[in-house]
Amino acid sequence: MNKQASIASRLFDALNVIFMILLMIVMIYPMVYVFSASISNNALVASGAVLLWPKDIKLIAYEQLLNNPDLWRSYWNTIRYTSLHTVLTLIATSAMAYPLAKRWLPGRRLILMMAAFTLLFSGGMIPTFIIVQQLGLLNTIWAIVLPSLISTWHLFIMRTFFEALPEELEDAAAIDGCGSMQILLRIVLPLSMPVLATVGLFTAVNQWNAFFNALIYLNDRDMYPLQIMLRNILIAGTNVQGEGDLTHLETLKYAMIIIGTLPILCVYPFVQKYFVQGTMIGGIKG
């Protein structure tokens, strides 16, 4: 009986390990391939000779990219947009979510309804563009940051979290002489680190990957984020319409992917746990 159980459990373990290894291969292979392709000979990559390991190692793609000032400028832009957007989003979202978490706020329902309305309906691309244009934001960092500053979804997650905090804590702070602002800054926010981390992380990742706002609101190549450059390189040669449309380095695409994802690859393992927590936060209801 005992022996049988252990055979079954060993079998399970073995299958488990095999399954996990398969899963790992599925996840890791594309990355290894992209890396190998990025340092191989262009002709061998174009002709499909590179499958796993690099062949005829050539660093020309990296040379071209790293010597391209656009890359560094785009990188810096992306970092700039991402950090500013994240910081401002956290400030604005918490500032809006906190009062909305208070039941005594007059017109709370109405404000919530109006916020929820934007989840379902939006003004559309062209009216939004015209507003951004009339506010004089075109071709500035604010055109990237402001239109998507508060996401209703994040607002609701944060409000739910604030509602779950024990009111007695705030009462105690009020008795000790704290004003509303101080309560928010000294009591509520320090206790809300998980939700701040989650919303911050989601915002940062979204902004890191975003390209569309940059595409329509920015006119100056010096302002473009990394994603625009990435997409530009990736689509080269997919649609041949004239002379010269095939004259690109296939390896450049892979090198660009490596350069574009490297920072996220480095950071992700350390912030991953917040993602897991974050997906559960919206569900907590006090």
């Binding site: 061998l44 174009a46 002709s47 656009d70 062209i126 244009q133 473009y224 010269g244 095939l246």
Partner: protein
């Protein structure tokens, strides 16, 4: 060196300007004159090409500025976002001063005061006027519903209709080694593929980078069997629009392609291939025959040799057609589908038009299409030739370092192509000579009314999708090919509106050119 040139250029330009102003001192001093003394800046929408990004210090624009006083400020978007950006600009009326749009957009939005009506300024723009007179097709494409002219269509091909883009590729080294004769008829083509398959059983001899489009499998074989290039096009024998599937030869095409497919002479994934897969299969010899842009022949050969097939060589095989069908290829269209427009909101309208007029002049087109004499091209026997050291793909260097022949900037690809072909390798010249007999002038484009556009928008896409799907089913054997199924296929196409579309094209064609 560059600076010195720039300085001399500037001095010459200044002298010229002095002379010009001296001559015209008697006339009124209009603010609309182009001169280096009155600098003006215009914005211009462009995208970065793969060969090299748009630069602010291209020498041709320095020279142009020295001559005209116009500084061009490029607004760069990514190639992939170009279409969206352009649409937003049109929808919100925020176009850059100079912008390249499909002539269709010019006709549609010009009358809504998005683009400047060039007709009002023709008197002060002699080159522009001459351009429309020389190319009635361009004028037709530029004319909006209100009769105004809104774009300057880009010239793509020579006026004689001799230049062309596509050839049948096959592996020269294999043909030589195994002593295989290039085919000249449909039957020989089939035998040719069969021989290749016998010698290289692992290969699928025929491949195509797409199923529709100019080099698409259905387009190419549709023309071979019916004489109609694409689903809808002018039939050169009748000079009328025709719908290829109505032609009796279309069923033969399906049978033929089905035969190639079932005998594994055609790549089994032909309907799903991406450009990269196509390239890979051609470079490695998994496929040996294809129909493609002739301009890529030498770069493909170089790539394949670098990838390890030392004897790899590509060459053209003759064009062929079914019996009783004209063996032809349309030349490059003389006038393209896109044109340069000026924003209706441009600050200095007169000078903007004059600048456009300058770019259309001999000197202006030379800058944009050829570059600078002595630096990018030289005159040989009275005809320009690009610098020899730019190689067989001069467009790479020209675009990267000089801004010449650059998409969205140049007004005449035709001029660049003509010069480029003159400097081609002997092999490419030989191919051109061999194909010359097949080339006939491309059909002129038609101008559709609003209702016709509506009809096209609502029907054409469905018809195309249906055809692509159904033809693929026929070719892959999913649907058997017989009279009954073919009749069903035609009936269904008719139900989706194939007749209405055909009538519309013919009506529009007659109206546009008064035939």
């Amino acid at each position: 060196m560059k600076r010195a040139w720039f300085k001399t250029g500037l001095i010459i330009a200044l002298l010229c300007a002095l002379i010009v102003t001296g001559c015209t001192s008697g006339k009124k001093q209009g603010g609309g004159e182009l001169s280096p003394d009155h600098p003006v800046t215009f914005t211009w929408l462009v995208y970065d090409r793969v060969e090299g990004k748009v630069r602010d210090d291209w020498e041709i624009f320095k020279e142009i500025e020295a001559k005209t006083g116009v500084k061009v400020e490029f607004q760069v978007v990514s190639q992939e976002g170009l279409e969206e950006k352009r649409q937003i600009m049109i929808a919100t009326n925020t176009a850059t001063d100079f912008i390249q749009v499909p002539t269709q957009d010019g006709r549609e939005h010009g009358p809504d005061k998005v683009f400047l009506n060039l007709k009002d300024y023709l008197d002060m723009a002699p080159n522009l006027k001459a351009f429309y007179e020389q190319y009635p097709e361009a004028e037709a494409l530029a004319t909006g519903a209100d009769g105004g002219l809104y774009t300057v269509p880009v010239l793509e091909g020579d006026a004689e209709g001799k230049g062309f883009n596509f050839i049948w590729y096959s592996r020269r080294d294999i043909l030589d080694k195994d002593n295989i004769k290039p085919p000249e008829t449909v039957e020989e083509f089939y035998q040719f593929l069969k021989t290749l398959k016998e010698k290289y059983p692992d290969s699928y001899p025929l491949i195509s980078n797409a199923i529709v489009g100019d080099t698409g499998l259905y387009t190419t074989f549709g023309r071979i069997f019916t004489g109609v290039h694409g689903f809808y096009n002018i039939d050169p024998t009748t000079d009328q629009y025709a719908f290829a599937p109505y032609h009796s030869g279309y069923k033969d095409m399906l049978v033929f392609l089905n035969k190639l497919y079932s005998e594994k002479l055609l790549d089994p994934e032909f309907s799903l291939l991406t450009q990269a897969q196509w390239e890979e299969r051609i470079l490695t010899g998994k496929s040996l025959v294809t129909y493609f842009w002739k301009a890529d022949l030498e770069s493909l050969v170089t790539k394949a040799r670098n990838a390890g097939i030392a004897e790899y060589d590509l060459d053209a095989i003759p064009s062929f057609a079914a019996e009783g069908i004209q063996n032809y290829q349309f030349s490059r269209p003389i006038v393209g589908t896109v044109g340069r427009a000026i924003s209706a909101k441009v600050k200095d309208k007169e000078r903007a038009v004059k600048f456009l007029d300058y770019l259309l002049s001999e000197e202006g087109t030379n800058y944009l299409s050829l570059g600078i004499e002595g630096k990018t091209y030289t005159m040989e026997d009275g005809k320009p030739v690009y610098n020899r050291d730019f190689g067989t793909s001069p467009f790479v260097t020209l675009r990267k370092d000089w801004g010449v022949w650059y998409d969205l900037i140049t007004l005449s690809n035709a001029k660049s192509r003509e010069v480029w072909e003159r400097g081609l390798s002997e092999k490419s010249k030989d191919i051109n000579a061999r194909y010359e007999q097949y080339i006939i002038p491309a059909p002129k484009q038609i101008v559709k009314t609003e209702e016709e556009l509506e009809l096209e928008k609502s029907k054409l896409n469905n018809v195309n999708k249906f055809l692509e799907q159904k033809i693929t089913e026929f070719v892959t054997g999913k649907t058997p090919i017989n009279d009954a199924t073919y009749q069903q296929f035609i009936d269904q196409a008719k139900k989706l509106g194939s007749d209405e579309l055909l009538d519309m094209y013919n009506t529009a064609y007659k109206r546009t050119y008064g035939k």
